[in-house]
Symmetry: C2
DNA sequence: CGGTATCAGGAAAGCGCTTACCTCAGGCAA
DNA sequence: TTGCCTGAGGTAAGCGCTTTCCTGATACCG
């Protein structure tokens, strides 16, 4: 492995000069030496050791991102936004999949801390139980104490800059949409009860139910296509009066569609997040749109641009919007 | 930022002892000191500086992955496999999105090289033109010269361990399936012509066309849903005799379905890759399955376990398989 | 009791860089 | 000519760790 010293030796200069030339330092150097050094770099295929640079420069340039799973379209969209901003400011993004295991989250926070990242963006949902979050909070504080920045997406225990999707409002929009269509018996297929995302979306749905004077049948399952399928199947089996289903994300909604095809019963379904696939399933999915990519962008901006000192954390909310498609219709209308 | 020296000072020991205790070295240490050091670690919330460790230990523990875009389901699946194996062997995975820009690929290879990763897995398709690949090859050689390992997925110019999806065979299966159903005028919506993936799948399709004595209408576009939609629209408009469409990946196939809905004409469609969504669109998509996750696993295994020295690169092929669903039917049968 | 093996712990030499500071020449004004 | 800048380059001190080698103390042997 060629080192700076090798390059310097080959070019017949000191490592200081070589370093300055390679990094384009402002210190003036004669063209003669510059050429010799660059030639040596090329001949030796020299690539600087990033770790040595980090150590010597003591600046942080990478950023870390904690997501449940990048291959989940929800996080894929968010990550796209995060990366766009990070890359635009010349930073390497390290993506970590936590798979919603609190253990792994802790590990990754420490790992990113150890790697001296400039900032960490936590994109996964928070947990309701503060037990699970306390330890996480500690680690984050330790990270921040060393000058690291943290931004979270969604409701978390940790007090830092945050971008909050309007989950409650979105739930309210979803419920209201169904009730306006005349549905009175609505089933909800929800994600894990422990997540704040689930809780908030559900709360919005409950609020609309109260407003319209109806009640909800809630079944919890995984935030996945298969989770949605299973939850829908059980709902269909247990309560024949349900005429509409609100899914707390689009993956579950897609599963609901599959369960209904299997059962030969077709109820109105509304999803949540408005994933790209929503318009391509049949019927195309009515959903609550969250601008996920820009949400990611915003979170990374907050993370990279610290607020003035001694200011409270900044909290921004991004709005939810109803996107009507073909999967919801008036209750009177048979399909 | 607490350093090892701070911990050592606080515990009243040398940094050597502190380091040994923290890393669980085999060197014996009295319980007394051990307790003091661990207490200091906890009080100071000490997290070792990973860069300093890398430098001092001179071992490589992270691995890098180059993909076109993790949020593309094709790469998301592969990445899942790559990560599973990397994580199982205790390695951090650094995912880099190249967005198919050769420039960015070069940059990332160097960046990963600089970060002293143990291995790089290149998961994106290769390019047909060797111009584009020559420079890449150089950088890879430079990386390998320093002891780094490389494995590629798909056909690339670089001579390293490789996992090859059976693209040609899959193309042949797809074409044969359509011709067996009696189609004689088949349109192909293909990805960018510069990619080896496109070329290979197309070659298989051509082989089947020759075998059955038919010809193909090929339209190139992006490997995306919208690319597929556009290509299909133009195919539909330009050649009314086409009765079946072969898409070179599932995203394009989904776009084809959309274009057909828009045009009110429903032709048989076969996809490629068998993404999870294939079974959830309507009609459910006949596709060529590639075991993407295990393909990723295999590639990472090759990358992490070097072959015996002076052996030719290992090349493994993973088979393609036809998955019949509802989007293809005999030509005689009207829909 | 001297000599040696054993053991816990520390001193210090790097790992590959960056950069503050120093040196040495040459150029200028007085 | 002397004195002093200025510019080009080198010297060397770290950055935060790991690890080799060394030290000093204790235990054990004949």
């Amino acid at each position: 492995m060629a080192t700076l010293a090798d390059v310097a030796r080959r070019a017949g200069v000191s490592t200081a000069t070589a370093s300055r030339i390679i990094n384009g330092s402002s210190k003036p150097v004669t063209d003669e030496l510059r050429a010799r050094v660059l030639a040596a770099v090329a001949e030796l295929r020299y690539v600087p050791n990033a770790h040595a640079q980090m150590l010597a420069r003591n600046n942080r340039n990478a950023v870390g991102v904690l997501v449940h799973d990048v291959s989940d379209p929800y996080f894929a969209e968010i990550t796209r936004g995060l990366q766009r901003v990070a890359t635009a400011s010349g930073r390497l993004t390290i993506i970590c999949n936590t798979f919603r295991e609190p253990e792994r989250e802790l590990e990754y926070i420490d790992l990113l801390h150890a790697h001296q990242v400039a900032a960490i963006v936590v994109a996964g949902s928070g947990y309701l139980s503060s037990d699970a979050e306390t330890e996480l909070d500690e680690r984050m504080l330790a990270f921040e104490a060393t000058g690291g920045r943290i931004a979270v997406i969604g409701r978390h225990h940790h007090a830092s800059d945050a971008v909050l999707p309007a989950n409650e409002e979105g739930g309210y929009l979803a419920g209201s949409h169904l009730f306006e269509l005349g549905h009175t018996s609505v089933g909800v297929i929800a994600g894990p009860a422990a997540l704040t995302t689930t809780a908030d979306r559900l709360a919005g749905l409950q609020r609309s139910a109260s407003a319209y004077g109806h009640s909800l049948q809630v079944v919890h399952s995984d935030f996945t296509r298969d989770g949605g399928e299973a939850a829908t199947a059980s709902l269909l089996a247990s309560d024949p009066s349900v005429t509409a289903i609100a899914a707390l994300n689009d993956s579950m909604a897609v599963g609901a569609l599959a369960a209904m095809r299997a059962a030969g019963r077709f109820l109105s379904v509304i999803g949540f997040d408005d994933m790209p696939i929503a318009r391509d399933v049949t019927p195309s999915l009515t959903s609550i749109r969250l601008p996920l990519t820009s949400l990611g962008e915003r979170a990374m901006e907050l993370a990279l641009n610290p607020p003035p000192p001694n200011t409270p954390p900044r909290v921004e909310t991004v709005p939810a919007e109803l996107i009507r498609r073909d999967s919801t219709w008036p209750v009177a209308q048979r399909r």
